[in-house]
């Protein structure tokens, strides 16, 4: 009994490591990519703007599960390319989350009063300085709460990757559950997800607190 409990924890912890990898790699790529998409979406060039609008529409308008399968299987059906499931998952997640982040960034950037740009301009700051030193820090503070929402959702969305056969937490728990004819592995996996999100929430709150020195 005790041994099998240890075995289950080991198994699920292994799966969790993969889940954590998906989580961090997705954030690592999608947070900056989202900024680029936001710039594209706000471009003065109408064609560029429309392209990014369309991109965001597709990413937010279709199921992530469908996108996941499409990204993995499409290259195979088109050109016979059989690529790594894990990499396919990261690519799909990055593309999807970047679209959500982009819209959050856009909201943040557009909420900064025009007067901030004008004050920076008359003081002689370049456009880059104005964005990096004056605008971006204020945007970060404003977008942190909605970004937090997405990050918490991401922890749970990683479970979708199991459809590609990647052995992350949910797939491991599901298989173990059918093997030993018990829902215990699923319940334990639930606790793992909860634990991860508890940590994520803590970290995000700490960041919000660090930025609360001004209003």
């Amino acid at each position: 009994m005790f041994e099998s409990a240890i075995g289950l924890v080991k198994l699920l912890t292994n799966g969790t490591l993969t889940t954590i990898q998906i989580f961090f790699l997705t954030l690592l790529f999608s947070l900056p990519l989202g900024m680029l998409v936001a710039f594209g979406r706000m471009s003065k060039n109408k064609i560029v703007r429309e392209i990014f609008k369309f991109y965001i529409l597709i990413m937010r308008g279709t199921p992530l599960l469908l996108q996941l399968m499409f990204v993995y299987f499409a290259p195979y059906y088109w050109i016979g390319l059989n690529w790594d499931r894990f990499i396919a998952a990261i690519v799909a997640f990055t593309l999807n989350y970047a679209a959500y982040f982009a819209e959050i960034y856009r909201g943040g950037i557009e909420s900064i009063p025009q007067g901030q740009y004008e004050a920076a301009e008359v003081l002689g700051f370049t456009k880059t300085q104005t964005f990096m030193r004056i605008i971006l820090p204020q945007v970060v503070k404003r977008v942190l709460p909605p970004i937090s929402n997405e990050v918490i959702t991401l922890v749970k969305d990683t479970a979708l990757v199991q459809t590609l056969g990647v052995s992350e937490l949910f797939r491991v728990a599901k298989n173990e559950s059918s093997r030993i004819f018990s829902t215990t592995p699923l319940a334990v996996a639930g606790v793992y997800y909860l634990l991860m999100n508890w940590l994520v929430t803590k970290a995000l709150h700490a960041m919000e607190k660090r930025l609360s020195y001004y209003k």
């Binding site: 007067g115 901030q116 004050a119 008359v122 002689g124 700051f125 004056i134 204020q138 020195y213 209003k215």
Partner: protein, 252 residues
Amino acid sequence: MLKAENLVKRFDGKEVLSGISFEVIKGQVLAIIGPSGSGKSTLLRCLNLLEKLDGGRLEVDGEVMVRTDNSGKVIYAPEADLRRMRLRFGLVFQNFNLFPHFSVLQNITEAPQRVAGMNPQEAKELALELLDKMGLADKAEAYPYQLSGGQSQRVAIARALAMKPDILFFDEPTSALDPELTGEVLKVIRMLALEHMTMVVVTHEMAFAKEVADRVIFMDKGVIVEAGTPEEIFNNPSNERTRAFLNVLKSF
């Protein structure tokens, strides 16, 4: 020092500045008065390159900033020259526009350091000196949200002065303030006038304009109706519109 000739500005085809000409003379305070919507603020924004002119000529100490060719096309000086010329101007906004994420000190030191290339220690000393002058020596570490409107505006003035402008422009510097706080800002401008800082002040404070200005321009509907010394404009206005405007104010 600054010479404006025949400035024209349109918004969606509607003319808001219709041939404005005037000169800012070194060491003088020029007050621009007039009813709301007369184009005063737009004029200031055009001079500070926040709005693009649709016609006219601007010269700073003989150097051409903006000109209009024979076909009516407005030509601005090359970007690098404009940047250099713009740094000779400082602008104080109606709504202060302080940077909320910077302390008072950093609001003032940021531009001298990053734009003028001053070293941090020098910039800090300059900022503290200016804050002291503004009567805000104890607010260096405060953040803008902790300041009253009058204090915010004085920080904004210090921020503009830190770039050592040759001309300081004020866009209705007291209009966003509670009446009891306008005094502290006007006092600072008065002090700068005594130091012969060249200033252009768009204001609704008639008593202040009369007291501090060397010259007054009265604007209405995008044109300069009358220009002269404060005595000429306030005590003996020759134009009917000026008289009417001042009379309305007197009745308050």
